[in-house]
Symmetry: C2
Subunit: 350 residues, 2 copies
Amino acid sequence: MVTMHDVARHAGVSVSTVSYVLTGARPISPATRKRVLAAMAELDYQPNAMARGLASRRSRILGLLMPMDDRGTGATETAFVTGAAEAAARAAHHLLLSPIPAGDVDALRRLASQRILDGALVMEVQMEDPRVEVLRELGVPFVLIGRTRDTTGVPFVDIDFDHTVRGAVEHLLDLGHRSIVFVNHSQEALASGYAPALRTQESFTTVMAEHGLEPLVVTAEDTAAAGRAALRTALVQCPGLSAVLAMNEHALFGVLGELALQGLKVPDDVSVVSMVTSAQVADLATPALTTMTSPGSTLGRLAVEVLLRTLEGSGGPSHQELVTCSLEVRGSSGHLRRTPERTPGGVASR
Amino acid sequence: MVTMHDVARHAGVSVSTVSYVLTGARPISPATRKRVLAAMAELDYQPNAMARGLASRRSRILGLLMPMDDRGTGATETAFVTGAAEAAARAAHHLLLSPIPAGDVDALRRLASQRILDGALVMEVQMEDPRVEVLRELGVPFVLIGRTRDTTGVPFVDIDFDHTVRGAVEHLLDLGHRSIVFVNHSQEALASGYAPALRTQESFTTVMAEHGLEPLVVTAEDTAAAGRAALRTALVQCPGLSAVLAMNEHALFGVLGELALQGLKVPDDVSVVSMVTSAQVADLATPALTTMTSPGSTLGRLAVEVLLRTLEGSGGPSHQELVTCSLEVRGSSGHLRRTPERTPGGVASR
DNA sequence: ACGCTTCGTCGAAGCGTTTCGATGATTCCT
DNA sequence: AGGAATCATCGAAACGCTTCGACGAAGCGT
């Protein structure tokens, strides 16, 4: 392994000079700098990350705290990771992937105490997330992807769920729909404090109320079967249903299947809008889904940039930013045509 | 930060003794060990990863070389990562996620030279993958997830594509199908050496030939639109088509949409089997897809275990293992009913 | 020409571990 | 009983880098 010593000898300078060329911590004359750089190139020198990390107390590694329950596994999350990875790479940092569950405080404490992370990106943030306290206590800078209920002094980037719901609902209202059902994640997800589900549901209720409409909500596990059941429930509660607003991609595909089985055409009989969904997933359905498109990779990039800026040591106020989902109208939403007649009591599949 | 020194002082022993308790490199008497462990617990000591890494030349970090092109982003890959992360965590190792493209030899060389990785898991392996040579040259142990054309001396775990194709084809043959079209990834993917596409296609050709059948193959970009077009092409080339075998999930959903538009029912008119597909994705379709289910998380776990075993320093022969996809029959495949009549020249959507 | 800054560089002391050789204290064999 | 072998522990030298104080050589004003 070629070390700084070798470079120094080869360039006829001291090790510290080589170090300064690399870090820029002190000015070095152009002549020496050039010689040092030449020596590095010639010897194909790469700094040893561990040594640098030990001496500088900066590992250049960012932790990606990504609990891997079944939910957090969609195309949106993947795009997020991609964006984060690219931003990190651009800044010569690395991303360390940790699947620690949001509730496993001990594991997080262990990880953070190893001083292997310069900072952390916290995914799958819950309304009351114990990780915030742990990281703060251990002095590990962090940025939430998502946000807790109380966000005072906590840096985060998140999706503007209120804006997203409004955009989706207003799109449907513009098309003439009045009977809209909101298909959310499961009761358990809500109970466990899964923030996107809670926030969107609250916004939905508010927005519908603002328009003097009844906010119909059904919940479903993240499976197609649950989606089917959810739609049947919705049709019972509101037979005149003309639009579905979804915050649960997996269930939504079940909804679509069930709609087809019941002889309801999309978008002629029922319009469908999926929120926080990627174009890739939207395309899987026929017709392609109208979505509030998730800003996946943007969010990831942003999170890394905010975190790195924090590490630079600005003692400024913690950065908080909401990024919006944009409406992309595809084939699944259209003008209200008529109150569909249908045979009551849908037929089960197969 | 509490260091080994603190622990040593607190326990009344030398630092080296503390180290030996931790690493087990030398025997320590039960009495001292107990005192040391007590001191650690009391002080809430966590070893500094950087210092340990520098001194031991073992970072306990495994690189996950995961090129993030559009393709490698499905549920199968996610499951893989999940499995790997869990296996690594169990062995007290970390996973460092690097999105370096397969072709970017320089970036890989830079990463590997930093000595930040104990070993690497190589994803998205191509038939001729330059990364193998780089890693070997730089002395970084690795395991391929996938495999190159020439696998002599290269440790890998991969899916048994031949078995997968056989399983799928035989399932369809058993149901009476004879006109089967294989929907593969794009021409470019094939040309660039994307191994799963090449291997499955070859197996398909072979297996069909073994049964005296014509192997019809169409290629498609990984989009629904391309899938639609692919199906239309297939119907022109083989109007009597009764089954679709897919190696391209995204295109497959286009295929399903186009089938519906053409008035062809699944599985009554056309049976569909998707290969290397997760149950999650299978469920998105209605009816749910019959699949050769990808062993995602198993593969990830296995890869990490193999790599760790390699790091333990067994000079044995390089571990090579193929793991099979298992047939899961869902609603999309059924007995051949009849040669479907149809209006020639499908109607484009919308 | 004098001291005073400023500039560029050097040497050495860490950073928190691991690991190697050495050192007493025991135990064992004859 | 005496020397060899074994055992548990210690001290110190790495590991490859960063960073701090120091120092000679220029450049400055007066």
